[in-house]
């Protein structure tokens, strides 16, 4: 639940050279003033040049816009720092503001405030409510598909471990009259160490739902066994989906985080679309593929160049009713150079498209493909309201896991001192922090996303 008395902060994704740090709340002017060494912000000014001291010998310049309540977007006092500096410096400024008691905004929190403060009408808010209330099950399902439930499973497992340990510690307090040792000190400390290690592992290696849901998505499609999964694996640099010779191995839409040089995206490895789906499972997989492809920013269409007949590929392309942005010829390594040249000419005339040649086996042209994907993402990207609060959302979740880790660390210290009641307090906090990430609160995460998308004109 949003707290309207917090001073909240969000960083808009850097589009071009300028990054905007937005601070809103009754204390926004004071906080930003303290960041800027105490300059007076009470007088209304459209814009002013400011410099932000990051370290003793390092300061960056920014343009400050102040919007006093109630005439601002949210109805609160708002400060906007338009920074013309590198991401690392933005990161440092952000951290300084967090240290000054700013709270990372939930997705859509600006919009929520706008609504509560009467800056937005009820129909917009109700539209939000409709989606919030879970009537839009598809989004949840899609998000779960994207993540393959991996994060939820991990978080669920860690939460479960914490709760188990917590219950043992609590039992030692509430049932100390029983002649039972519920958990020994050594066991409890060990268990806490394991929990801590797992949270740290999670922090180091996972992506959260918001990232995936808000990131640009790229769907990789094609006929069964045309080499999509191998191509995706080669792009990612490691084995992710099961690859086999059998048709239709990829039974579902698998999403993978692809790190590119200037941006990231989610690569959907879509199930192959056969002509006649056999059984419910295959039918479901095909529906999911088409949905994923339609929802993606663009589609990469793969054709196995080593085949002799491309009839199926053309049929499927028509069946999907989507115009792919990138056409890829796979398994090029199976052909001699002269054969390949002929085949490519044939493909070009059949599909009226330029084909990118790739081979997952030899890694040939994978870098080219990644570059093409990156170019397309950047060219399609606009400063959309959806992405305005993207970094903050990610940070909040990172912060939750980091706070959970901090709490687990503190709990360990208390357990070493045999102080069960204070250890329990920290373990409880750790579990609560993790529940922010788990599926139980996925409704709230979606709410955040929706409110973000109402940041119209901001």
């Amino acid at each position: 639940m949003h707290n309207l008395t917090d001073t909240i902060i969000a960083v808009s994704s850097s589009a071009g050279a300028r990054t905007i740090i937005r601070v809103a709340g009754s204390d926004a002017f004071n906080t930003v003033s303290r960041l800027l060494g105490g300059i007076d912000l009470s007088k209304k000014r459209a814009a002013q040049n400011v410099s932000i001291q990051i370290e003793d010998d390092f300061c960056v310049r920014a343009i400050l816009y102040t919007f006093p309540a109630p005439a601002s977007y949210t109805g609160d006092n708002i400060c906007e720092l338009h920074c013309l500096c590198c991401n690392e410096a933005v990161e440092r400024i952000y951290q300084k503001l967090i240290d000054l008691q700013c709270v990372p905004a939930d997705g859509g929190e600006f919009t929520y405030r706008a609504y509560v403060n009467g800056k937005m009408d009820i129909s917009q808010a109700e539209a939000v409510a409709a989606i919030v209330s879970g009537s839009n099950q598809y989004q949840i399902a899609a998000a779960q598909r994207v993540l393959s439930g991996a994060i939820e499973q991990t978080v669920g497992r860690i939460s479960e471990k914490i709760l188990t340990l917590l219950s043992l510690v609590e039992a030692g307090l509430d049932f100390s009259e029983e002649d039972i040792e519920f958990v020994s000190q050594v066991q409890a400390v060990n268990e806490t160490e394991q929990i801590l290690a797992e949270i740290e592992k999670l922090l180091a290696g996972s992506i959260s739902f918001e990232q995936v849901a808000e990131a640009d998505s790229v769907a990789v499609t094609g006929t069964p066994s045309c080499g999509k999964s191998s191509l995706v694996n080669a792009s990612l640099g490691f084995e992710r989906s099961i690859v086999s010779q059998t048709d239709g191995t990829t039974r579902d839409v698998l999403g993978h985080w692809l790190k590119l040089k200037k941006c990231d995206c989610v690569l959907f490895d879509c199930a192959g679309i056969g002509q006649e789906p056999q059984g419910l499972l295959e039918q479901y997989a095909q529906t999911a593929t088409i949905e994923a492809a339609k929802n993606a920013c663009f589609v990469v269409f793969c054709v196995d160049v080593s085949k002799t007949d491309y009839k199926n590929d053309i049929e499927i392309l028509n069946f999907m009713g989507i115009t792919p942005a990138i056409f890829v010829a796979t398994k090029c390594d199976l052909l001699r150079p002269d054969e390949l040249k002929n085949k490519l000419a044939e493909l070009n005339s059949l599909f009226k498209k330029e084909f990118l040649t790739t081979s997952a086996k030899t890694g040939n042209s994978i870098e080219n493909l990644k570059q093409r994907i990156e170019q397309l993402i950047i060219s399609q990207r606009t400063v959309s309201p959806e992405s305005a609060e993207k970094i903050a959302i990610t940070k909040r979740h990172q912060q939750s896991a980091a706070t959970a880790a901090d709490n687990a660390r503190l709990a360990k210290g208390e357990l070493q001192r045999q102080s069960g009641e204070t250890a329990a307090m920290y373990l409880r906090s750790a579990a609560q922090e993790l529940s922010v990430l788990s599926s139980e609160h996925i409704d709230e995460a979606i709410l955040g996303k929706i409110f973000s998308s109402f940041c119209v004109g901001k």
């Binding site: 639940m1 109700e126 919030v132 509430d174 204070t422």
Partner: protein
């Protein structure tokens, strides 16, 4: 005012009823307490003990608010122990074995000495109402008493059925009749009534026990008093004894499981998990070779012994055989047999936070009728119901204690927001702000509230003021006096700092001539200061959500876009605040957002 007309009537004089009648009368309501028998006022129907983990905190809270339980326990206690002494002060709880007759006597005398309180022996039969508001009560003998507020504290008496093996008999307690008419009356008024089960073990003739075969359990050398009104406990302490069940007993019970109502299907309702019968213990924990049994005296004269740990629904002959196998009780004479009891209760989501029923104005419920277990839980509800009945009569807002203020607040909030499938018992782990809700600071949390509503005596006020002034002096000294670059307060806040143990020996502190209670309070406060500060944000969030009131007549089916599950749950519980709504199982933050938007829309039009 007519002789049979009162402001407030309390039905039942158990631990809830006694506190309710006392509180209502203290607040100035002309009060009638109806009991089946004067001799059993505030009788310990089960365990002859007050307090315990979580419960001891409640008993201290009742005392801090001006209730009876604390002083009665100090007066009737025969063995005092502070539990969790080796653990943190936040989870330390006082517990005392009591002489149950002396306890009852003390409470009866206190009630008789309370101005504006009348006690009558009668059996209530029918709640009288007009337009969904209470007007009085009709007794079994036909007499009618009128009132503005009625508090039902009927314990296990509502349609009580006792089981000893296959024997079943109606009754609220051994040797006392059940209150079936009253239960029917509640149903007729439209209240939902369900069943719960509990049980009590056998009582033995103390002189027939061979104590040489048992282990002795003594009370504390320095007994810790329950009441903030007392400085020390001076009476003689009496030991308890422990013994253990064995494989012979387990086999006996296993072989005769079909004769146990709990396993034969004769009892269908659930009993408490935290207080299982011996047959449940051996079935659920089959690998445990022995179970501890406490032999606890029920009175200072040591006439009878309560066998804590072997409550059962077994038939008489099996009970006799079991005791023959139990070391120490081989030749014991059974004074009365163990029995299981099933009784009616009203699921507490039918209550407002004041403990008044949502359906019938002026009708309050407290204690086991709300599905709780335990004297302390009952007493605390009784006290609040008494206070709120009186406040309603005088047109005041109800007294509400938050989860951040008292275990009592935690309990009432739990009862109102979650369905139970066993009698509700307090544990310290239920209190998320446990480090602040301690037995040592119950007075500082609640006595000012008790004072402001007029419940606490002038004498208690004065004691509290003296303590507060002493504490303030000590605080100022600890925060201003520095050594090793740190204030004494900061040093006390460090884990395992030796200063805590030496504080009372410092010359400057000796000169202040403070009570031990005050020095302990400062040490404990300092110990937890850092931790409670970290919880402050949570507490603030909690308070904010509680301050957001929800209309009780809100039709959740009308709330656009609310999920069906949420509609169903919220309609059943009709929470009073947004915070309460969020604590109902299955309600998500998103649901709360939807409700907020709905309310904004409704009230802006």
């Amino acid at each position: 005012m007519k002789a049979n007309t009162f402001d407030c009537i309390v039905i039942g004089a158990g631990h809830a009823g006694a506190e309710a009648a006392h509180a209502a009368a203290r607040l100035g309501a002309k009060t009638l307490l109806l009991t089946m028998s004067r001799e059993t006022i505030a009788m310990a129907s089960c365990n002859p003990a007050i307090g315990g983990l979580g419960k001891g905190q409640i008993a201290r809270e009742i005392d801090a608010l001006g209730g009876l339980m604390g002083t009665a326990t100090d007066s009737a206690g025969i063995q005092f122990r502070l539990l969790n002494r080796s653990k943190g002060p936040a989870v330390r709880s006082p517990r005392a074995q009591i002489d149950k007759y002396k306890y009852s006597e003390f409470i009866r005398q206190s009630l008789e000495a309370t101005d504006g309180l009348t006690i009558i022996e009668a059996t209530a039969a029918e709640i009288l109402t007009e337009k969904n508001a209470v007007t009085g009560i009709r007794c079994a003998d036909g007499s009618v008493y009128n009132c503005k507020a009625l508090i039902i504290t009927a314990g296990t008496f509502l349609r009580g059925v006792m089981h000893i093996g296959s024997e079943q008999s109606a009754g609220g307690r051994l040797g006392e009749p059940a209150a079936n008419a009253l239960s029917d009356s509640l149903k007729k008024l439209g209240l939902r009534v369900e069943r719960l089960k509990t049980g009590t073990p056998a009582r033995l003739d103390a002189e027939t026990i061979d104590y040489d075969k048992t282990e002795i359990q003594l009370g504390d050398d320095e007994p810790y008093q329950f009441s903030f009104m007392n400085d020390e406990i001076t009476q003689e302490q009496i030991p308890c004894w422990t013994t253990y069940t064995n494989e012979k007993i387990h086999k006996l019970l296993r072989d005769n499981l079909r004769q146990m109502p709990l396993y034969s299907g004769q009892i269908k309702t659930t009993g408490p998990r935290y207080c299982p019968s011996i047959e449940t213990k051996i079935m659920r924990f089959a690998d445990k070779g022995r179970h501890q049994v406490f032999l606890e005296p029920e009175d200072a004269q040591r006439k009878t012994i309560y066998c804590n740990g072997i409550s059962t629904s077994a038939p008489r002959d099996i009970q006799e055989q079991m005791l023959k196998f139990l070391p120490g009780t081989e030749n014991a004479r059974i004074v009365h047999y163990a029995y299981a009891i099933e009784y009616d209760y009203c699921p507490a989501e039918q209550l407002k936070i004041s403990l008044e029923t949502k359906r019938i104005a002026g009708l309050f419920l407290a204690g086991q009728v709300n599905g709780t277990s335990g004297y302390e839980e009952a007493g605390a509800q009784g006290l609040l119901a008494g206070v709120n009945a009186a406040r309603k009569i005088f047109g005041d807002e109800p007294l509400v204690l938050g989860r951040d203020q008292a275990y009592i607040g935690v309990m009432i909030d739990d009862l109102l927001t979650r369905p139970i499938d066993e009698p509700y018992r307090m544990f310290t782990s239920r209190a998320e702000y446990r480090l602040s809700l301690r037995s040592d600071n119950a007075d500082r949390r609640l006595t000012p509230i008790g004072k402001s509503i007029g419940l606490v005596s002038d004498q208690r006020c004065r004691r509290f003021e003296i303590k507060t002034a002493q504490l303030e002096r000590l605080y100022n000294y600890l925060k201003s006096e520095r050594s090793k670059g740190k204030s004494l307060w900061q040093q006390l806040s460090q884990p395992e700092n030796p200063l805590a143990g030496q504080l009372s020996q410092l010359p400057a502190i000796k000169a202040m001539s403070l009570s031990n209670e005050v020095i302990d309070a400062a040490v404990i406060d300092a110990k937890y200061a850092g931790y409670t500060k970290k919880q402050q944000r949570m507490v603030e969030k909690f308070r904010r959500m509680e301050s957001h009131k929800l209309p009780l007549d809100l039709d959740y089916n009308e709330v656009a876009h609310l999920r069906a599950e949420a509609k169903e749950k919220l309609s059943a519980f009709t929470p009073a605040t947004l915070g309460q709504a969020g604590r109902i199982g299955g309600i998500t933050p998103a649901d709360l957002m939807v409700i907020q938007i709905h309310l904004k829309k409704k009230f802006s039009m």
